[in-house]
């Protein structure tokens, strides 16, 4: 069973790569845009650390690590989560989701992997490079345990972000203009450039429980620089499992309410 999912994933990956290979110019545009967005972050850091030595006890190299994680996770979101969910909302709107539902595979799996923006891999690569540079600056030897913590935090964060988007996209079965909420997510995600501990409590609360920005950026970065306590990691992992189950349930519930505008 799971072999079939892997085969499907590979097939969709192939399809998306083939589609993008027709537009090779986009690759250079994407490199340019990724570098631009990275320099945007670096310039911001330069201006800030021109006036101070630490930002709320975060040293420049630690903030750099955070910036790398921000770029990396942003890359994953833009690579597959956002394009898939946007397509889902569009198809619900236009009633063309019927064609996907008719296929003899799990619909949630299909809508979650079929649309990829392959060139966004640039952001992921750049993010990893920045994380590497930051770690070199920190001079700390990163042990296997710390790396594992980082990976767990990263995967859990990704799962929470995915579930969040799926639930939002599922709302489009009832509401029409949900895509505007995406704009909000992009805006709120910006807040992840900086450690959430600097924000006032209401904003910190929003970024942690209402919109999953903290789990996607600050917490993996904390894991990376060795400042994440085990209980927090455990809590995040449990929360990830919970949201995955919840979003699955909500998706199935939503499907029962889908009438198909075209049919």
């Amino acid at each position: 069973m799971s072999m079939r999912y892997i085969a499907l994933l590979r097939r969709f990956l192939q399809l998306n790569i083939l589609r993008e290979l027709a537009y090779r110019g986009n690759f250079y545009t994407q490199i340019f845009q990724s570098l631009l967005s990275l320099s945007f972050g670096l310039l911001g850091l330069a201006v800030i650390f021109d006036h101070t030595g630490t930002l709320n006890e975060w040293h420049p190299a630690q903030i750099l690590a955070l910036l790398g994680v921000y770029q990396l996770v942003g890359g994953v979101i833009n690579l597959v989560i956002q394009p898939c969910m946007q397509q889902l909302m569009r198809e619900v709107h236009q009633g063309t989701l019927d064609f996907t539902l008719l296929k003899p595979e799990d619909a949630q799996f299909l809508v979650s992997i079929r649309q990829m923006q392959i060139w966004k891999l640039c952001d992921i690569v750049l993010g990893l490079v920045v994380v590497g540079i930051a770690l070199a600056h920190l001079g700390a030897t990163v042990g296997a345990g710390q790396m594992l913590t980082f990976l767990v935090a990263l995967v859990a964060g990704g799962a929470i972000v995915y579930s969040f988007w799926l639930m939002l996209a599922t709302c489009s079965f009832w509401l029409v203009r949900v895509e505007n909420i995406l704009v909000i997510f992009q805006d709120l995600y910006q807040a992840g450039r900086w450690p959430v501990s600097i924000y006032p409590s209401w904003l910190r609360w929003t970024l942690t429980f209402l919109v999953p920005v903290t789990v996607a950026t600050t917490i993996p970065a904390q894991a990376l620089i060795g400042q994440l306590a085990w209980p927090t990691l455990l809590g995040v992992a449990l929360f990830a499992l919970l949201t995955l189950v919840l979003s699955r349930w909500f998706w199935l519930f939503g499907l029962r309410h889908y009438t198909g505008a075209s049919a």
């Binding site: 340019f32 845009q33 911001g44 201006v47 630490t54 930002l55 709320n56 203009r177 704009v183 006032p200």
Partner: protein
């Protein structure tokens, strides 16, 4: 002139009704607009608090008033037409607009003005709430208020023309997202969105002096807060006048040449 006024009245009415339909999405846009200034207000205040409550003479309260006024001015000067231009050109949506016996920019201006007035109803109370949270300090005089409103009008006009011209580049390129991103980065650092330009390295300050960005945003903000000395006020107003002429010329030239490239595909 009278015909134009009638056209505007009709446009204002239709766009008002259109926005009324999508109240929820308008509020969501608003949230997005508030967030960015709040983030940088928090970042700068954090630094100020750690360094004896001030950064180069800017206290925590000064940052609060700077970013709150910036929020309002950014809302009033903001424009989003340039995001739609790619689609207009690619899908041929411009064709019906061209058939009208009036320049398409008028419809955009009318729509933009409606949105600003409508959203001000929500924006002002929001700024009020944020003021309660962040405790801004400012000393506003009648003179600075007068100067503020005149430079605000200029800033709105300049930014609209610059961004409309930016949208027109869709006639030449299909890589609009890259163009817009470059613009966004430049706007963020050079218009004062990230913080008062005085806190930036000198080369950035000089760059900001010759480019249009700060005249579309930071200048009116600092005028209101009395952070500009007399010589700089005159200089700034002159710069705004120059950029108004330049952006008008730019828009006219780009429109004339771009239209020749437009083939109306899809229509």
């Amino acid at each position: 002139m009278r015909a134009l006024l009638a056209v505007y009245r009709a446009q204002l009415k239709t766009s008002f009704l259109m926005y009324l339909q999508y109240r929820a999405s308008s509020v969501l846009w608003l949230l997005g607009m508030i967030l960015e200034p709040v983030i940088y207000l928090v970042v700068w205040s954090t630094i100020a608090r750690a360094n004896g409550w001030a950064v180069d003479g800017y206290g925590v309260g000064d940052f609060a008033s700077y970013f709150l006024v910036l929020l309002l001015v950014n809302h009033l000067t903001d424009n989003w037409v340039y995001y739609e231009f790619e689609e207009r050109v690619r899908q041929g949506l411009l064709s019906p607009l061209l058939l009208r016996p009036i320049h398409p920019i008028n419809a955009d201006v009318a729509q933009n003005l409606t949105y600003k007035w409508m959203m001000l109803v929500v924006m002002l109370p929001t700024a009020g709430v944020l003021a309660l949270v962040f405790h801004p300090t400012a000393h506003v005089t009648w003179l600075s208020l007068l100067l503020f409103f005149s430079s605000l009008v200029l800033a709105i006009a300049i930014r609209f023309l610059v961004e409309w011209s930016l949208g027109l580049t869709a006639f030449w390129t299909t890589q609009m997202s890259a163009v817009l991103q470059v613009y966004y980065v430049a706007l963020f650092f050079l218009s004062g969105q990230m913080g008062p330009l005085a806190l930036f390295p000198v080369p950035v300050e000089i760059l900001a002096l010759v480019l249009p960005f700060q005249w579309m945003l930071a200048f009116p903000v600092q005028l209101l807060l009395g952070q500009v000395d007399q010589r700089a006020i005159v200089l700034g107003l002159v710069a705004q006048a120059i950029w108004l002429c330049l952006s008008l010329a730019l828009m006219t030239v780009l429109w004339r040449h771009g239209l020749r490239r437009y083939s109306g595909t899809g229509a």
